[in-house]
């Protein structure tokens, strides 16, 4: 644990701009700046994230840490910053972690197998607006990992459920629905994420306000698939 004093913070600064300022000062003093991941600073790329006083992204509703502004804090506040806490997210340096486990879960089945080429016309498959909206609600996940960091079990159920729900709400996602659930859950377990025990911290921490219902849908799909799928369709195949 290192303690830094940061005087002269402007209330309109974003949290990361406050860290930028601190890093500039550290560099000028010859001390190592603090490493943290960030990129778009618009709350959409999902690259930033840290625990602030034990809360993922600081714990403000629907807000990533890059969109959090200093007007939410008082002069003199003491803030504890930690990297995401999860065995499946090893620390790279300081506040930066390795979230490649998420990529491997998507690679295992988080897609619709469609070759680049000549799919049917976009309007050939009507999608009820309600379904499209539900799919979009789940597809809003930015893959930041706050759900995992906030979960006492470090489970990835909200992340996996979001992708499962996004694709399960669309007609295009039906053919692979069962194998997708099985493959993604299997990879999730391999990566060392623990089981979900319905605590709900993930939903509270999610900066995109993904709902717990995606986990319910994932569980339903997984159980159905586990009873009905034959083993060979799950292992291998052509993707």
């Amino acid at each position: 644990m290192v303690r830094y004093e940061v005087p002269g913070v402007n209330e309109h600064m974003s949290f990361l701009e406050m860290l930028d300022m601190l890093n500039e000062r550290l560099t000028e003093k010859g001390e190592d700046p603090i490493a943290f991941d960030h990129d778009c600073r618009e709350g959409i790329c999902g690259m930033c994230g840290m625990m602030i006083n034990g809360k993922a992204h600081g714990g403000f509703k629907g807000t990533t840490v890059c969109q959090l502004h200093m007007r939410h804090f008082k002069d003199g506040d003491e803030l504890y910053l930690e990297p995401w806490r999860a065995a499946a997210f090893p620390v790279v340096k300081d506040l930066a972690v390795d979230r490649s486990a998420f990529d491997r879960i998507i690679a295992a089945g988080g897609f619709i197998s469609v070759p680049t080429g000549s799919p049917p016309d976009g309007n050939a498959i009507p999608v009820p607006k309600e379904d499209a909206d539900l799919a979009m609600d789940a597809a809003a996940c930015i893959g930041c990992g706050a759900c995992v960091a906030a979960c006492p079990n470090a489970a990835a159920a909200l992340f996996v459920g979001a992708k499962i729900s996004h694709l399960a709400h669309l007609p295009q996602g039906q053919p692979e629905r069962k194998r997708r659930a099985l493959a993604m859950v299997r990879q999730m377990n391999r990566e060392g994420f623990a089981n979900c025990s319905n605590i709900g911290e993930c939903e509270a921490a999610c900066p995109k306000q993904i709902k717990l219902e995606v986990i319910a849908l994932n569980n339903a799909d997984y159980i159905k698939a586990a009873f009905t799928e034959r083993p060979e369709t799950v292992s291998g195949g052509v993707g």
Binding site: D20, C45, G62, P120, G122
Partner: protein, 636 residues
């Protein structure tokens, strides 16, 4: 050197079909013997890597972020254009082509733009099949809106997160190929040099951002899809990591750089709040569909906007451009905002802002409808500024957003180095001097899904596959070059931080080479940049070592390249004695509008590196317009 565009002749409607048929094919059994390197995983790179992997090539794909899903395409809000004419409002491939050529102020290559309009319809089909949750109407069909100055509804969208959803579609297709073993992904890996052997691009040198290890990767072709160079201005709507290093180092290996002065300033961004500002946030241009832009008529009027009566407000876009009103193209809206602020009528603390007012739309449509259309944007605005746009008008100001210039490519998207292909924002090809709204996503995906898979095969079928070792002299020289740059940055051990230099460079460019430019200012800026660049190499402070996760070192290398690119930007802007699109030279205007000089400047300016300290060469590709006859753009 002569630039051969390889654009087909004959009727433009058939040119891509005919050209495709003339391209050589690679036997399926031979595809897996070819290694292809793809740098960048945005819409262009992600879709290219996925499509090439699926064809059976052996793809090695690189990104500097921790995951390919983070690329900045993800931040695009508004939508993607396609000439589907689903709404029966008179759209067609030809109209999209016409609008894009005109919107680009007649500085793009006709054949490329026509092809872009043609494949736009395939993109939508592809993305729907992948599960991109586009907005739907109650009947279940795809919804469209009119966007960014178009008079037809051809923009497809997924709430305010269209870029995110399209990118996740490409990312999922890419990860599927990773799972199948056709693509090997290298995240947190930055390309730092291009390996050219016997005149052909044969590989790249990379640095692992985790531990600083340099890697040599050979391929039969190298595809750069590394985005634009807007961050040369320091403050822009780009992500913090966006950089020009890959294309700049390719330029230094012989790829020509085209039209660097064509940069786009987006009219609707949240104004700068203070010196600590690290980036600017775009508010989607779709807001201009219902928001009305105004400033007080009187200079220095600091009253609260609500207490300024209607007759003392100047809705300057509506008065000046009655037929397009608030929906004029980006370059025009941005310059108009600058003009009213320069006249002292800007709003907000800094005076660098104009109002974007929804009160009329709120009355007409009600808050619920407005929330449905723009809810997430309003929330974002409030999060950043602390003001509620349902109650107070938004304040907006232009900011650097997109760069139309980039590496020169021919019709096959190949640069002047054989085997080096450039896609998406990184190339110069389709948007001329100004890009229309919802066209960047279209171009990125067109290049990656529907063009490179054809054209790269023809190149590969024509060359001999060679296997090289890391001992190849060109590889060793490139590695030594990268190591030397790193060492020089670490050894400077000076007093100033990288960011402080970057900020100063950006300020010079914004002041003298931003929304409006003049010869004296550009000369002055070039001198200031050269001086600052020299000071940078002597006095920059990068702590730590190469062999670790070192974000200051990453930034330092990128800023070093921005200095050189900034000088070229000024040089190009100075040489182009005309105004067109995003390039506005104060000396060349008529009634306050851009004045093109087609007799002397109807060409692509492609600059070639001639060695450090020597002026670059200028090669011109003349532009011929057989279909859309150049005219003075008018939106009045």
């Amino acid at each position: 050197m002569e630039l051969v565009s390889n654009a087909p002749s004959g009727p433009i409607e058939r040119s891509w079909e005919t050209h495709k048929f003339g391209l050589k094919l690679v036997n399926p059994a031979n595809k897996r013997k070819h290694n292809i390197i793809v740098v960048g995983t945005g819409l262009a790179g992600g879709s290219a890597a996925a499509s090439l992997g699926e064809l059976g090539y052996n793809v090695h794909c690189f990104c500097f972020q921790d995951s390919p899903r983070r690329a900045h395409s993800i931040a695009a809000q508004g939508g993607i254009n396609a000439a589907k004419n689903y709404h029966n409002d008179g759209d067609s491939v030809y109209r999209l082509f016409y609008d894009t050529v005109k919107g680009g102020d007649f500085r793009a290559r006709e054949a490329n733009v026509y092809r872009l309009a043609q494949v736009s319809v395939n993109i939508i089909d592809q993305c729907v099949a992948q599960g991109v949750p586009f907005a739907r109407e109650y009947g279940g069909l795809l919804d469209n809106r009119s966007f960014g100055g178009a008079q037809v509804s051809r923009t497809f969208y997924a709430r305010g997160q269209t870029g995110q959803q399209l990118l996740l579609g490409a990312y999922q297709a890419l990860e599927r190929q990773v799972g199948l073993g056709t693509v090997k992904m290298y995240p947190r890996t930055e390309m730092l040099d291009l390996i050219v052997i016997d005149g052909k691009a044969r590989g790249i040198v990379t640095r692992s951002l985790n531990d600083g290890k340099l890697g040599v990767h050979f391929g039969d072709a190298v595809v750069l899809a590394t985005g634009g160079y807007g961050n040369v201005f320091y403050l822009s709507t780009n992500a913090k990591g966006c950089n020009a290093t890959a294309i700049w180092r390719a330029y230094k290996r012989g790829a020509l750089f085209a039209n660097p002065c064509f940069t786009q300033i987006h009219p609707t961004c949240i104004p700068v709040a203070g010196d600590y500002q690290s980036k600017l946030t775009l508010m989607s241009e779709s807001l201009r569909n219902d928001g009305r832009i105004w400033v007080p008529k009187k200079a220095g009027d600091k009253r609260n906007p609500a207490s300024i009566p209607e007759e003392e407000r100047d809705y300057y876009l509506e008065t000046r451009y009655p037929s397009f009103g608030n929906l004029v193209p980006r370059d025009i809206a941005s310059r108009a905002a600058k003009a009213v602020c320069d006249a002292g009528r800007g709003v907000g603390e800094t005076g660098l802002g104009v109002y974007l007012d929804f009160s009329e739309a709120l009355k007409r449509l009600g808050p619920q409808k407005i929330a449905e259309r723009y809810g997430n944007l309003f929330e974002m605005y409030e999060r950043i500024t602390g003001e509620n746009p349902y109650e107070v008008p938004m304040r907006i100001f232009p900011a650097t957003h997109y760069t139309m210039g980039g590496l020169w490519v021919d019709y096959n998207l190949m640069s002047t180095i054989p085997g080096l292909f450039v896609l998406g924002e990184a190339n110069f090809s389709d948007h001329g001097a100004n890009r229309l709204g919802a066209s960047a996503l279209m171009q990125g995906l067109a290049d990656g899904y529907f063009i490179i898979p054809y054209t790269i095969g023809s190149y590969l079928a024509n060359i001999k596959t060679e296997r090289y070792s890391e001992d190849a002299p060109a590889a060793k020289e490139a590695v030594a070059n990268v190591a030397a740059i790193t060492k020089k940055l670490l050894d400077a051990n000076g007093k100033r931080t990288v960011d402080s230099y970057h900020r100063e460079l950006g300020k010079i460019l914004w002041d003298y080479c931003g929304m409006s430019r003049n010869a004296a200012g550009l000369k002055k800026a070039a001198g200031m940049i050269a001086e600052l660049r020299q000071d940078f190499w002597r006095n920059v402070r990068v702590l730590g070592s190469n062999e670790e996760f070192n974000q200051s070192l990453e930034k330092a290398g990128r800023v070093a390249d921005f200095f050189e690119l900034g000088e070229l930007l000024c040089m190009d802007a100075l040489h182009r004695n005309e105004s067109c699109g995003g390039h506005f030279r104060e000396e060349y205007q008529t009634d306050g509008e851009a004045l093109r000089d087609d007799a002397n400047f109807c060409y692509v300016a492609a600059w070639g590196f001639q060695g450090a300290g020597r002026p670059p060469s200028l090669t011109k590709e003349p532009l011929v317009f057989n279909y859309v006859k150049p005219s003075q753009r008018s939106y009045k």
